[in-house]
Amino acid sequence: MVSNNLYALGALFKDPNKLVKLAKKIVELGYKNWDVHSSYPLHGLPRLMRLKWSPLGYIALILGLTGTSFGVFFTWWTMSVDYPLTIGGKPWFSFPAFVPVLFELTVLLASVGTAIVMLFIIFKFPNNRHPLHDTEYMKKVSVDHCGIVIEAKDKNFDYEKVKALFQEFEPDQILDIYYQEEEVAYKPKVFDWKFITFLVVIAVLTSAVGYLFNNKILYMPPFDFMLNQFRLGPQESSTFFADGFGMRKPVPGTVARGDIYYPFKGKPEEAGAKLINPLLPTKENLALGQEKYNTFCSPCHGWRGEGDSHLNGQFPNPPSLHSEKVRTWSDGRIYHVIVEGQNVMPSYAKQLTEKERWAIVLYIRALQRSLNAKQEDVQ
């Protein structure tokens, strides 16, 4: 008498050739719910069993493309929209620099995502039960046998017929595999206390190792060879020089290469009166001025010189360049501010060449005119 509890009928073989012949026969007879188990690969069997292509490849492709497009969007948004920073003189959206990021994101999403999809959707994690677990059949298969099961839910399944079919191929053993009592009504428990304890222990362990490694081991010899070097950092003191300073001042009376003598040091009014802009407001000069303004001035003064930048509210607000005062200043007076700085603003003489400073002055003039246009400008 066949019990209702029967899961499948299994046949165990020591010789894989017999199993392959049986598998061929099963395919011919048209069984659908059957499977082969083996502890070593049987080459060519997936094709013989007419298994469908796994959808995992397409899932990995879609996840990978998601990673790439997210990477493109995020590098573009962070580096050229939300907080543009000039790095190494490269454009804000400098694609080659972002390719490694895109590559890593693609690989990360594709691999981790595929593993998660495989575990949770295809393997139905956290359900870790299967009727074949803990059976005599599985024990033999994981040692030195390979086996075939035909499940009882197959519509062609007939106990006697299947048994006769198995016997035709002389298996070493034929087994009836039953559902275990608790499995019939088994529901997976996600918040099993054992599982939670396991997660907590792993979390504590990895944190402890991470803490030890990052805060202790890296500061111990020999791993600290990058940290402690035989050189002085900025602002460090030195016993080598008599005055104790690590950083040296230039020798008195020398002029650094490219340093141009500025005669109006501390004399803004004189500079405003005597300096004349040597550049003409040509398209090239204005373009240069715009580029340099956007790079060096806009972080505080804002894109249009209204003082409405990121820094608004965090510092003494930078003044608008459109006030009556600045508009009536001469070119030389603005130039002087760029060279010497004013109030909180430092000198930009180191960052900008003479030509670039004058170009910025031209660009500021253009900005002023655009916001305070006169009637004749429109005509």
């Binding site: 050739n17 392959v20 080459h43 060519g44 292509w53 190494g88 080659p96 390719v99």
Partner: protein, 395 residues
């Protein structure tokens, strides 16, 4: 599926038509090349450098493939190993091809002009390495080494056809182990001498690997195309099919990615560091129509093969695989052309019969050498102890 059956192999001679085709291409190419020397010897010499490095790629890459097969103990490639062995015979045309190039060396390599070197500190410091005598010695030594290893591999492999001696496989594994460092060093310096020194002021430490990536791709392309063609026409043994093709496709796909990785690494480091002595090489390739060729190389050598070979069934489909293999083989020519020719023509891509003649000559030479060698040997290593396992290979 382990079933006892004998591997049956009957040697079928290749069709005479193939030889005629090769001969026709060779004669046309040869006449064109000779005419080229009379019209513009510098231009044809630059094109011959492209051709020489391309044919060297196919030949040495095939030797490397044979070496890897022995070292890893791979079985799937054993039934096709003869194809790689016959492909590698193309290295025997190298001594003939380099003679006209060396005669024209002054129009190719700037560092051969002694008066130019005298006034140039960088070239003066490089002179102990970059001088004509040492250049020719190195080239001759490298070619001699490749011939030596070709002889060792091939003589052992052919002896096995009649003796079926397992010791010969063992011996070839040892030869392979010795070949690997020789291959790495000789190929790197070959690339530096013949390709990188065209711009003697420029250097890129990854250039040897860059040439290697292209080399292995080109030889795999030739190997895959010819293997599938021969198998479909029934010149090899019964039982070779999609599982073997899959391995070839996977290798092609993998090394396409490897090439892209290396090429991009080279570009990105130079672009990011922005040192004038390195960037000018890429800047030269952005002038005029060279810019479109530089963009095209991403498409031709990476994106098209990548998309062609990405799906799993595509690697098993012989029709698609043949297209991809031929594409990759000629993409390497495109790549080398892009490396070599900007030195000759700074303002734009030169395109005329000068540029077509070397391909015709190269194809003619390749077909003739292949036909000649293939007519002398079995197309399957019938004595190899791994052959049956190779034929019965399944994924």
């Amino acid at each position: 599926m382990i079933e006892n059956q004998q591997i049956l192999y009957h040697k079928k001679p290749l069709p005479k038509k193939l030889l005629n085709l090769g001969l026709l291409l060779f004669v046309v190419g040869l006449l064109g090349t000779i005419a080229g020397f009379f019209v513009d010897s510098a231009r044809i010499s630059f094109n011959l450098v492209v051709l020489t490095t391309w044919l060297a790629s196919i030949g040495i890459g095939s030797l490397f493939f044979i070496g890897i097969e022995y070292l890893t103990g791979a079985v799937w490639s054993v039934p096709f190993r003869r194809v790689a062995e016959i492909n590698s015979a193309i290295i025997f045309v190298l001594p003939i091809l380099i003679v006209p190039i060396i005669l024209n060396i002054h129009s190719l390599y700037h560092w051969t002009h002694i008066e130019a070197v005298q006034n140039d500190t960088i070239l003066k410091n490089k002179a102990p390495y970059l001088n004509e005598t040492f250049f020719i010695i190195r080239t001759v030594v490298f070619i001699f080494l490749w011939f030596l290893f070709y002889y060792l591999f091939i003589s052992n492999s052919r002896k096995q056809d009649s003796t079926s001696d397992q010791k010969l496989t063992k011996r070839n594994s040892i030869v392979s182990a010795a070949f690997m460092p020789v291959f790495a060093i000789s190929l790197t310096f070959f690339a530096i001498d013949w390709l990188m020194s065209l711009e003697p002021h420029w250097y890129s430490t990854i250039f040897g690997v860059y040439y290697f990536a292209g080399t292995f791709l080109a030889s795999l392309g030739a190997f895959t195309y010819i293997s599938i063609l021969l198998n479909e026409k029934g010149y090899l043994v019964e039982g070779l099919g999609p599982d073997h093709y899959y391995s070839m496709g996977a290798l092609l796909f993998g090394f396409t990615n490897f090439w892209a990785y290396i090429a991009f690494s080279q570009f990105m480091l130079i672009w990011y560091a922005n040192l004038p002595e390195e960037t000018f090489w890429f800047i030269n390739r952005g002038v005029g129509s060279w810019f479109y060729m530089s963009i095209g190389i991403i498409l031709v050598k990476f994106i098209v093969p990548y998309i062609l070979l990405l799906p799993q069934p595509a690697k098993m489909d012989p029709k698609r695989l043949k297209i991809a293999a031929l594409w990759i083989l000629f993409a390497h020519y495109y790549d080398l052309f892009w490396v070599v020719m900007p030195t000759f023509s700074k303002n734009g891509i030169p395109f005329n019969w000068f540029e077509l003649v070397p391909i015709v000559l190269g194809l003619g030479l390749f077909i003739m050498v292949f036909y000649y060698v293939a007519s002398k040997v079995n197309l399957v290593p019938i004595g190899d102890p791994k052959l049956r396992r190779g034929v019965e290979f399944h994924l």
